[in-house]
């Protein structure tokens, strides 16, 4: 009985977190069942603090009694542990390329889009510009491809996956226009392909709930700035 509990995967997450979501998609693509624990990030549980004392963040995965944190670390761990249906390409150069772009999108697009939607004026303009430049790079990478991974979803699609459903919501509530479909046709196609995959389509945060969440967050941030 104890051994069964240990081999089962437990995932601590947050419904709106893109970092958690990409790990869930990976587990689902691999057909790995897991117990999901929704964390209250504002009132962090003793379990979360015990399992990830350094960062106190989700996702946290427990497998075979061992704790693994950080979403990109988890994607690689999942790919190495459950070897069927590979997420990363086989060729070392292609792997390096996928890892490079995953890091790039995280550092340039996610970071700057986040800043852009929660700021105003010059700060917003600057971040907005960098975010668009990042999408230009994505557009180049996607030209002629159904997915980053080729014919099917791979590591880089999962890493960038938040762009498909979260960035449009951010653009709407954040008064930004980062994902312009006229400007980025390949990216727009990719979004359709990605969201059309059954395992992705059935595993997305609800749109209106997302909108409310980010809209409220934006209001809180703007209000606290006004009172400074």
């Amino acid at each position: 009985m104890a051994r069964e509990e240990e081999t089962r995967v437990k995932l601590l997450g947050l419904w709106v977190s893109p970092f958690v979501r990409r790990v869930e998609w990976a587990l689902k693509l691999k057909g790995v069942s897991y117990d999901y624990v929704e964390e209250d990030i504002v009132n962090k549980s003793p379990l979360l603090l015990e399992l990830n004392p350094i960062h106190q963040k989700v996702p946290v995965m427990v497998h075979n009694g061992k704790v693994i944190c950080e979403s990109f670390v988890l994607l690689e761990y999942i790919d190495e542990t459950w070897k069927h249906r590979p997420l990363l390409p086989q060729d070392p150069y292609d792997r390096a390329t996928a890892r490079f772009w995953a890091l790039f999108v995280e550092e340039k697009l996610m970071k700057n889009a986040w800043i852009a939607i929660f700021s105003e004026g010059e700060e917003k303009e600057k971040a907005h510009k960098v975010a668009i430049e990042a999408v230009e790079r994505i557009e180049e990478q996607l030209k002629g491809k159904r997915f980053f991974g080729g014919d099917d979803i791979g590591y880089l699609d999962l890493a960038v996956g938040w762009v498909s459903h979260m960035l449009p919501v951010w653009d709407e509530m954040g008064s930004t226009n980062i994902l312009d479909p006229l400007r980025f046709p390949s990216t727009t196609s990719w979004i359709t392909n990605f969201l059309g995959h059954p395992l992705i389509r059935d595993n997305l945060p609800p749109r209106d709930r997302m909108w409310d969440y980010f809209h409220r967050k934006r209001e809180q941030i703007m209000a606290s700035r006004a009172s400074d």
Partner: protein
């Protein structure tokens, strides 16, 4: 593919460039080292890494690979018959990757925070932060090494490379601020590990001498204190 020519674009003071050099040395891979002048970047660098325009860049045959830890993984995967750099067990590998990310995202920025501190109070706080990080890394060493010589076990591995590359700058910081960050009293395991790491054949010729690096640092830090006017 493994037989194609290897070129590494870098600069001698750069710790992240050192990561790639150590990995190539561990695999006994011959390569041409191209010293870049960061104030006047070469066409080759700008073409090979158009996105970031940063070093290191590994050019294998005609293919550029960028980002130091991605380069180390690439080297391990291509020259797979040489001694393994990444841990073979997925959990040990996940642990090594976790700590490498911590070092890049949190610990090394805290180290440069000491140089950037504008007054004594800020400096003291920055030093404290670095020390707290080292206490975590001391603990990580105990867990990862499992009683052996390196984070990677019997030989230099991924996490040794990811962390050890910063030892030169750490020593310069200690010297310039009159503090001990890694010491036998505070971080006994790391102190021993640091000596062994720097003495390793794959490391010793690419780790810059502390005095030479300190001279370079003085020039660099002068720029932080008196940034050129916009």
């Amino acid at each position: 593919m493994a037989g194609d020519a290897v070129k590494l674009l870098g600069a001698w003071p750069s710790p992240v460039v050192m990561r790639a050099r150590i990995a190539l040395n561990l695999k006994s891979v011959g390569y041409e080292f191209v010293e870049e002048n960061l104030g006047n970047k070469s066409q080759l660098l700008l073409q090979s890494n158009p996105v970031h325009k940063k070093i290191p860049v590994l050019i294998h045959g005609d293919k550029p690979v960028c980002e130091s830890l991605i380069i180390v993984q690439y080297i391990d995967e291509v020259w797979s018959s040489g001694p393994g750099i990444l841990p073979s067990d997925p959990y040990d590998l996940a642990t090594a990757r976790f700590w490498a990310a911590y070092i890049d995202d949190k610990w090394f920025p805290s180290l440069t925070g000491i140089a950037k501190a504008q007054d004594d109070g800020a400096k003291k706080a920055a030093i404290e932060q670095v020390s707290e990080g080292l206490a975590l890394l001391e603990d990580a060493f105990r867990k990862c090494s499992k009683g052996k010589t390196f984070f990677g076990g019997d030989r230099v591995g991924y996490l040794d490379i990811a962390f050890g590359c910063f030892l030169g700058w750490l020593r310069v910081t200690e010297k310039m601020n009159g503090v001990e960050l890694i010491s036998r009293s505070k971080t006994p395991q790391l102190a021993q590990w640091a000596e062994r790491f720097c003495a390793d054949p794959a490391v010793k010729d690419v780790m810059p001498e502390t005095d030479k690096l300190a001279e370079f640092a003085k020039v660099l830090f002068a720029k932080f204190k008196n940034p050129p006017s916009q």
